[in-house]
């Protein structure tokens, strides 16, 4: 058994649709308010009610809050998954379970401790309504965790008061259920357990937020007025959040009229069509979707690319191909987005790593889309979008104004004899556009068919090529405008490790631990495509690099080999793509095994359970 303060992981096994989310959220928020670095990962099924669902909480005073894989405490509230859940507890760990019914002796392990609390019985005795009995079981187990983990009871009580301020009866029930679990644990077990919490000061300027909310907030601050979408997991909450934000901040108090419009489209083909139509007219417009939606949007993405119309596409990635696993996370849309649509197309991609960057990259995506008159993809994923992250408070620069790119208004048009759509290019090879309805002189004909630099129809090879070649130059020019990579160097680094997006925390934790073991490495997280010169330089200065990503086909590695001069052999892949968020342990194991270094000096690195996580290392 290891004793530790503010450094452990717990997993809560529940049945979905029974109300466990509010209890788990309550615990998360309480730990957050205690000032302790914490993360919450919701591992949920694609189902409404009745299937197994898990929630993992990792606390770590050093700020390592990527997924843990080893669990000090399992809250086993789902008898369907007892076997698997009990098996996953680390040696010397604890299982908290509902002892209303006896545990099958076959499930017992003598290297872990079992804490039984008769939750169902307690709730049946204390609550009358059948639904309430089920719901309150969750709050009761939260109460017992408050006792065994030493969660600050005052904070938990205050949270319940805030949440149910307007619902007196519910507030009373919740408090009662919380106390039931708390008192039972205090009376029957030595509290707290050897691993527990202690208030610290780590979250002073932090917030606890999901990436999808942050993305919506970014779009709001970017000045987006038109959103078109089709419901799809895991991106739906982006639009739900955007709607809520618009109702709060975009309704004219004087007229009651909305300074925005959100259209639920008939499918993703229509959603991207609406975004393109709105952007053609000059609105900042976006859609939010997942991989299957991008597949459908491919046709019109090519139109936007070729006709040079801005569009912002939020892709909250999930597991593919096909329907795949809608409620599991992956980074599998990189190649699909980079070259979406038929013919020669290439797009601008942004890879935020956390809610903070989701917010920051929102306005950035619109600025890039308008400056370069082209689709811009922001690739988040389910882990970033739907899980609970502790991140620094978002900052906003009051001086920010949208970069609309080159747009000619009446004054500029007056100075020229005749407006030609693709003629007047700037230093970034972007040709000035006009907006419909603004000025008689600005009228032009937009077409997805072959056109020359004047915007006229063409089937002439030279004229066609002239436009296509400029589009390539334009895409290249955008490299210095996408967010630069994050590079962290270590003295005597022997190799580099590249990654993107939500792998960030796990990879950085892994590199810290590897450095402590005498295996130092440089770190680079790419944040945009096309790659800028810093990416190329990092690849050049290392003999070899690992590329850590969450997909089977090493898509980031492929993109790097296609779009930089790096030799393919220099890049070794570490691929974790089973659908659950990445852990530092995956990365450490992958790097050590590739380097041929035995893991034995640190046997605690990987338990038998974590070894089972699907993973592939390629040289």
């Amino acid at each position: 058994m290891r004793a530790s303060v503010n450094d452990f992981a717990i997993k809560l096994a529940n049945v979905n649709g029974t109300g466990s989310a509010s209890a788990n959220g309550l615990l998360m928020q309480a730990i957050f308010r205690m000032g302790i670095p914490v993360s919450g990962k919701n591992l949920f099924p694609s189902n409404i009610q009745g299937l197994p669902t898990w929630y993992e909480i990792r606390v770590n005073h050093q700020g390592y809050t990527a997924r843990a894989l080893d669990y000090d405490l399992m809250v086993a509230m789902n008898s369907q998954t007892y076997g698997k859940d009990i098996h996953e507890v680390r040696e010397g760990g604890f299982v908290l379970y509902d002892s209303t019914w006896p545990l099958d002796p076959a499930l017992l392990r003598d290297d872990i401790n079992f804490l039984g609390i008769p939750f169902a019985q307690l709730c049946n005795e204390n609550f009358r309504d059948p639904r309430e009995r089920i719901l309150m079981k969750n709050i009761a187990y939260a109460g017992s965790l408050v006792a065994v983990l030493d969660v600050d009871m005052d904070i938990v009580a205050a949270l319940l008061d805030e949440k149910y301020a307007a619902k007196k009866k519910l507030k009373e029930s919740n408090h009662r259920a919380l106390r039931l679990g708390y008192d039972y644990a205090k009376d029957h077990f030595p509290c707290p357990l050897p691993f527990h919490l202690k208030t610290m000061d780590g979250n002073q300027d932090k917030i606890l937020i999901e990436g999808n909310m942050a993305t919506a907030l970014g779009c709001l601050y970017a000045g987006a007025t038109v959103a078109a979408w089709y419901p799809i997991t895991p991106s739906t909450s982006v639009l739900d959040a955007f709607k809520g934000l618009c109702e709060k901040y975009r309704r004219d108090p004087a007229t009651g009229k909305n300074n925005y419009i959100i259209i639920q489209a008939e499918d993703e083909l229509a959603a991207i069509g609406m975004v393109i139509g709105a952007a053609w007219n000059g609105a900042r417009s976006f859609t939010s979707t997942a991989g299957p939606g991008i597949s459908l949007m491919n046709e019109l993405l090519g139109l936007a690319y070729y006709a040079e119309i801005p569009a912002v596409i939020i892709d909250v990635q999930r597991v593919g191909p096909s329907t795949g696993m809608p409620t599991r996370t992956q980074q599998g849309d990189v190649m699909e987005c980079a070259y979406a649509s038929h013919g020669d197309t290439r797009h601008i991609l942004l890879f935020p790593a956390n809610p903070g960057e989701c917010f920051e990259f929102g306005p950035k995506a619109f600025d890039l889309a308008e400056r370069f008159q082209t689709p811009v993809f922001m690739l988040t994923d389910l882990d970033i979008g739907m899980n609970d992250w502790v991140v620094p408070r978002f900052q906003w620069d009051a001086a920010y104004r949208p970069d609309r790119g080159p747009v000619l208004g009446p004054e500029q048009l007056e100075k020229i004899t005749k407006f030609q759509r693709y003629l007047n290019q700037d230093e970034n090879h972007v040709a000035a556009r006009t907006l419909p309805g603004v000025d008689p002189k600005g009228a032009f004909f937009t077409r997805g068919s072959g056109h020359n630099k004047f915007g006229n129809y063409t089937e002439t090879p030279d004229e066609y090529r002239e436009v296509m070649d400029r589009l390539l130059l334009k895409h290249k020019a955008s490299a210095k405008f996408v967010p630069e990579p994050i590079i962290l160097r270590q003295p005597d680094a022997q190799f580099g490790v590249l990654t993107m997006g939500g792998c960030d925390l796990a990879v950085r934790e892994a590199l810290d631990k590897l450095a402590a073991r005498g295996v130092p490495a440089d770190f680079m997280r790419v944040r945009g495509f096309p790659f800028d010169s810093a990416v190329e330089a990092f690849l050049e200065e290392h003999d070899f690099c690992f590329v850590v990503e969450q997909n089977r086909d090493a898509q980031l590695r492929s993109l790097l080999t296609l779009e930089t001069s790096v030799a393919k052999e220099k890049l070794r892949s570490i691929l974790v793509y089973g659908g659950f968020p990445l852990s530092a342990k995956h990365v450490i194991q992958g790097i050590l095994s590739s380097l041929g270094i035995p893991e034995s000096p640190a046997p605690e690195l990987l338990s038998a359970a974590s070894r089972r996580q699907e993973m592939q290392v390629e040289d």
Binding site: Y260, F445, R447
Partner: protein, 351 residues
């Protein structure tokens, strides 16, 4: 689409509209469609309608999908903003454009392949949203650019140029639109500009989605004997259910409305559509009656034309969404961004 620039030569005696523009100012590039194509007649009717309405050319957005019909926006109103998009996808593009800027006049040109096959879903949903736009289906029952395949509007028994008979039931855009709540439904014939021009003007004035299905024979692939979309067949089977006049908003004319028992409908912008002649028991504002009339007459093989149904009471996309009265594109960024202090306060909820 290919097009040929038209020489501009304006005769000094040409009549001018309220904006001082002649009808030549509403023309576009030279058509490259086949000589005698019905679509060119529709183009001519559109030119006339906009000229008569004195619409500012640059305040018109003309959109289309892909197909022969979708080439035609290049052939009318040169001064308008054009968008020739992708096959079947014009309705979503138009929806987004209108969402962003409700102040422009939107006209979409589509065909039976574009609207009744690949883009059928999009058209239906644009109808459901009551998107304010003129939506023309240039309906010839055949795919022209790919050389003669049946489209979804081909009637059972109608013969292709090679003599093959169509065996599948057609999708009738008029009946379909009636069944999903369309608020303005007309059918016309490309050979009848007299009928089409007032319908087009009424469509522009309409509060929401104005569907005009225009039978427009394909002279190359579907104008032969045995085709039910030929000039001859349409002329022989046409039944004009209604005749309409369009009366622009002007008080001295309003005095005449409703005389002689004729039906008249006041449009959203104050203009009036006057039905000069309608059959007994036909009420162009009564969906059920229109439906049974069409069932009866189309069942007899007649091609019923005219402005068939109007409902000015249904809110359009923006009204349903309570969107700002001005174009969203005209709202300054300062009004859209909640600012530093709002962000600080908002984040208190995430503590």
């Amino acid at each position: 689409m290919p097009s040929i620039v038209k020489p501009i030569a304006t005769h000094p005696s040409l009549q001018r509209n309220e904006l001082g523009l002649t009808i030549r100012d509403y023309e576009g590039a030279m058509s490259t469609l086949c000589a005698g194509c019905g679509h060119d007649s529709i183009t001519a009717a559109i030119v006339r309608a906009f000229w008569e309405l004195s619409t500012q050319p640059h305040r018109i957005a003309k959109l289309s999908g892909i197909g022969c019909s979708s080439k035609t926006p290049a052939y009318f109103v040169n001064g308008a903003h054009g968008f020739n998009s992708a096959h079947g996808r014009m309705p979503p593009i138009a929806t987004g454009a209108n969402a962003a800027n409700r102040e422009l006049t939107y006209i979409g040109i589509s065909g039976d392949g574009d609207s009744l096959s690949i883009g059928l879903g999009h058209m239906c949903h644009a109808i459901r949203r009551n998107l304010r736009m003129v939506y023309i289906i240039e309906n010839n029952g055949v795919y022209g650019l790919t050389k003669g395949q049946f489209s979804a509007s081909a009637d059972i028994g109608s013969k292709s140029k090679k003599g093959e008979a169509n065996r599948m039931a057609p999708i009738d855009p008029v009946m379909l639109a009636l069944s999903i709540g369309a608020t303005f439904i007309a059918r016309s014939f490309s050979g009848d500009k007299e009928q089409l021009v007032p319908i087009l003007k009424a469509a522009v004035a309409h509060r929401g989605f104005a569907l005009i299905d225009v039978i427009s024979p394909c002279v190359t692939f579907n104008d032969h004997e045995g085709s039910t979309k030929s000039y001859l067949y349409t002329r022989q089977h046409e039944l004009k259910a209604t005749e309409t006049d369009f009366v622009a908003p002007a008080s001295e004319i309003l005095a005449h409305i409703g005389q002689n028992g004729a039906v008249s409908v006041t449009m959203h912008d104050g203009s009036v559509v006057r039905f000069k002649g309608v059959p007994e028991n036909y009420d162009p504002t009564d969906r059920a009656k229109v439906h049974s009339y069409l069932e009866e007459h189309q069942g007899q093989g007649e091609v019923v034309t005219g402005l068939l149904f109007v409902d000015e009471t249904v809110p359009d996309l923006h009204e349903m969404n309570a969107t700002a009265d001005v174009a969203l594109t005209n709202i300054p960024y300062e009004k859209l961004c909640p600012g530093v202090e709002a962000l600080r306060r908002f984040q208190e909820d995430f503590r």
